[in-house]
């Protein structure tokens, strides 16, 4: 009886992939592409269902143990079919289109969500993930919690700004050696800086390399370096040695270099964004008591 249900459901998924999924026909084998989306699947309790992820899905670390289907824009049709997935999850960056067509023709349900860094997009994404995972209430709770944490963060920033001036910030997309790229006005970097209460000093669009002189002229009070390797004083000293212009800024003189996980900058709003914001804000407003784990839980 149950087996018949499952088989029937499976057939329905295969034949009518665009229908709203009934609870007994939930997709059981997922391939997820897009770091933030994969993280949300894990947060919402769907990690067991993942059979493959793309190269941008590196959080939590357990995901790196799964078979990799390559870069999300260069998926391979047969490679994904070899994992026998019911569902391929991804953002609008997922591609190339002919491969998605082939996968759809082979009966894989393609679920394309948006990677835009906006709260209402996130709400729609979580709602859809909740449906697909069969836990809509859990997805709703997760979103409410997320929203509450961002609100708390905002209040904290407003509170801090009463006593301290908003610092001028630059975010560098670091790589050792060459000149780092600076996050401009229309980037996720800009969004994070503003949400954490800083002023992005860069006025260009996208990520562009700035000359040493331009960097000195902007004279940031805080420099955020998006580089996982920047842990500890030795790494910071090495960074300043490689970029003498950076060493001349106010941020370096006052020791206000913050390291940020670069994966927070891609793929839209992931579950770790509030943590990243709290960390940045604490660095921007050192005189205020940082948001603790307990404070985070308060609505």
């Amino acid at each position: 009886m149950r087996l018949a249900n499952i088989l029937g459901g499976l057939a329905a998924v295969l034949l009518f992939p665009n229908l709203v999924l009934a609870s007994e026909s939930l997709p059981q084998r997922w391939v997820s592409s897009g770091g933030a989306l994969s993280e949300w699947v894990v947060v919402l309790g769907g990690e067991r269902k993942l059979v493959g992820v793309d190269t941008t899905s590196r959080h939590p670390v357990s995901l790196t143990q799964l078979p990799s289907v390559g870069y999300q824009r260069q998926l391979a049709a047969e490679g994904i079919l070899a994992l026998r997935p019911d569902l391929l999850l991804g953002s609008e960056e997922m591609g190339p289109p002919p491969v998605l067509e082939q996968l759809a023709a082979a009966g894989v349900h393609i679920e394309r969500l948006t990677a835009r860094a906006e709260l209402h997009s996130l709400q729609a994404n979580l709602q859809r993930l909740g449906q697909l995972l069969g836990d809509e209430a859990g997805a709703q709770r997760a979103f409410a919690d997320y929203q509450a944490r961002l609100q708390t963060q905002q209040q904290w920033v407003e509170q801090a700004q009463r006593s301290q001036e908003a610092p001028g910030v630059l975010l560098l997309l670091g790589h050792a050696g060459g000149s780092p790229l600076v996050g401009g006005v229309d980037t996720a970097a800009d969004w994070l800086i503003n949400r954490a209460g800083g002023r992005n000093l860069a006025s260009h669009s996208g990520y562009k390399a700035l000359s040493s002189e331009a960097l000195l002229a902007l004279d940031p009070q805080v420099v955020v370096v998006a580089d996982r390797a920047l842990e500890g004083d030795a790494a910071r000293r090495a960074l300043l040695q490689q970029n003498p212009a950076l060493a001349g800024t106010r941020a370096a003189r006052e020791g206000r270099l913050l390291a940020l996980d670069p994966t927070l900058l891609v793929g839209g709003l992931g579950p770790r964004v509030p943590d990243g914001l709290a960390m940045l804000a604490a660095g921007f407003y050192p005189a205020s008591q940082p948001l603790t784990a307990e404070a985070k839980r308060e609505p």
Binding site: P67, A76, A77, E78, G79, A82, Q102, A105
Partner: protein
Amino acid sequence: MIPTLSTRPLFIALGLLLMLVLWLSLALGPVNLPLGDTLRAALRLLGLPLATDDAVQQAELILAQIRMPRTLLGLAVGTVLALCGVAMQGLFRNPLADPGLVGVSSGAALGAAVAIVGGAAFGGLPEAFAPYLLSLCAFAGGLLVTALVYRLGRRDGQIHVATMLLAGIALTALAGAAIGLFTYLADDATLRTLTFWNLGSLNGASYARLWPLLLATLAVALWLPRRARALNALLLGESEARHLGFDIERVKRELVFCTALGVGAAVAAAGLIGFIGLVVPHLMRLLVGPDHRLLLPASALAGASLLLLADLVARLALAPAELPIGIVTALIGAPFFLYLLLRGRH
């Protein structure tokens, strides 16, 4: 035209190799299909009324929708790149010539960069047209730059091959600068698309994209062998070939046009795939000698086999992910080229 006694076994071997590789390309992939199912599915696709079940149906789907177009694409791209390589080495009388010399590759790369980075600006295009924008731009770019190189190499109604070669180098550099500018303007995501395109891939082959390339390949494969004697005469030098009674200006024009058409279509369908056009003619010249009547068909067979083998590596090495095929052909091609170079010294 008839292979001599000494080369006949070689052609039989090359033919058998291609057959084998074609079969491997259909039978192997990340999805592990049992040999029996693959065979039955292949026979059913050929129209034999065999019994079917779920497993055979899955095999049929994968064969017909994924592996078959991909194999045909590899066959066409490998053939046309190798043939055009022979044509260019014959035209420039230089074993280092490859189809890129007349600017078709760099022109196509520039067209692709325009399409990838500027694609958003073409937002108003009809929906049906958008998926082909990249291929069309690459093809048009290749043709345009080649036409320009050809035009620059012409003086008093004659094509000066040396001038054309230098013009090709200059325009390649110019196109490189323009691509660099687009790279600078690109955001992270388009940058990666551009990088991957430059490494080539047979991934996502579909029949709709295949037909133009198949036609171009057929045209080149039928036309170039008709000019084999003229290419042989060109080996002696242009004036000698002219004295032998060949209409050299026309032959040169045809060779450049064939290369622009063939390589342009190949690059538009599969991105930039290096080394096939350079290494395969070389290798075949060692085996069959410099006679273009033998060299052209041998290169076509070997080019297709080599490209399909490289694609097998590309799709199996990191499965379920995929390696760009340009990496594989360069990994095979570059050491082999070095080997040829060092061997020639002794």
